[in-house]
Symmetry: C2
Subunit: 226 residues, 2 copies
């Protein structure tokens, strides 16, 4: 007890948790799983990797317990093991945002410039929803909406938005949201609506942050108990 070997093993164990997040592909997996559980093949398509490689990444996330799995028929659904994993992923992005210089350029290259894009914080959106002032649009792929969304939001995946613009009520501002601050869907939706002359804004971050803040959510159209 108290020796160097024991100390090394203890810190190696802490490090093993950080290590599995130390791959861009696994980070993408965690980012997607923060939206809700997913089977392997969907994750593979999402991160642009083979199923075999995705499966192996998932095994690595499984070992230190960052994700859990449940079998349903022939599919295996993976999910994050708990809210502390969501907080860890948020802490990683926060440090990157504050201290990695080239992040801004990379984000701009992926997301495009956000100048002229109206942004609402979570609390601003919550207030305006209470005032009945806005329509909230969930522009993520529909399975993510089904597994959980902001209470009162309407699902219009960004790929279907162009054909469904006439469904939107006019007079009220549309606020789009998606997976988080570094997710493109809401940006694309707001740009599309602006191009049509509709008043639109995006939520600053995304669904996982809304959940973490304890704001009201629902799943499959039912209000969640929490």
């Amino acid at each position: 007890m108290g020796g160097r070997a024991e100390k090394d093993m203890l810190f190696d164990t802490f490090a093993s948790v950080a290590k599995v997040l130390g791959s861009g592909r696994r980070a993408e997996i965690v980012d997607v799983l923060a939206q809700g559980e997913r089977p392997v093949d969907e994750l593979a398509r999402e991160i642009g990797q083979t199923v075999a490689n995705t499966s192996q990444h998932l095994q690595q996330l499984l070992r230190p317990g960052l994700v859990s799995a449940r079998r349903q028929g022939t599919r295996i659904y993976y999910r994050l093991s708990g809210p502390s994993v969501v907080r860890l992923w948020a802490a990683v992005r926060q440090v990157a945002a504050e201290h990695v210089e080239e992040l801004d350029e990379l984000a701009a290259a992926y997301l495009g410039t956000r100048s002229g894009l109206d942004v609402l914080t979570r609390s601003e959106l919550a207030e305006r929803m209470a005032a009945g002032d806005v329509v909230v649009l969930d522009v993520r792929p529909e399975p993510e909406f089904r597994s959980g969304h902001i209470a009162g939001a309407v699902s219009v995946p960004v790929r279907e938005l162009a054909g469904r613009l006439k469904e939107l009520p006019d007079g009220r501002t549309v606020v789009a949201y998606c997976r988080g601050q570094y997710c493109v869907f809401a940006d694309e939706a707001v740009r599309m609506m602006h191009a049509r002359g509709l008043p639109a804004a995006r939520l600053e971050d995304g669904y996982p942050e809304w959940v973490a803040a304890g704001l009201p959510v629902e799943a499959d159209g039912l209000h969640s108990p929490a």
Copy 2:
């Protein structure tokens, strides 16, 4: 913009932050730096590695900006770049504590059993300090005390404690604290005092958590402005 290559680069950048914490030795370095800045050779001694190896680990922590350095004469002092790094390290330990099964055994092997060891939370300690009820003992090495400690604490490094037990006032409970939950110093101090029949307890976590909670600290005997 919006392509797979850009997305990969963005997530590789997030991952690069997690990756540098994915080594036990670098995790130890971060844990020590959470106590305050340190020159390379002290860090090397602390983590039981050569100076060259420690220096190389520090370069890796430097690249994504987790640590910063300042030169003073012939020494170079490294420090964590900001509070978000402390939160990240806390998030890693939290996930490990919740989801890594073997952590309990490893912690017990390093720290020894904690049964019979009285533990106070931060708020309990803050209350009892306000009541003037306790003596607070900082049992970390003295340089760490000097670079910042709980306001009102007395420095008695655990290696000197045996020879200085008579300095302690009797009648009041002694509460020892050190670097955090997984730090041995406070445990050793409490065991030593218990063996002498003195009423003693340890703070549940340590100095970085006290700072993060916004509780009062001081450095070099002067009250800090924050």
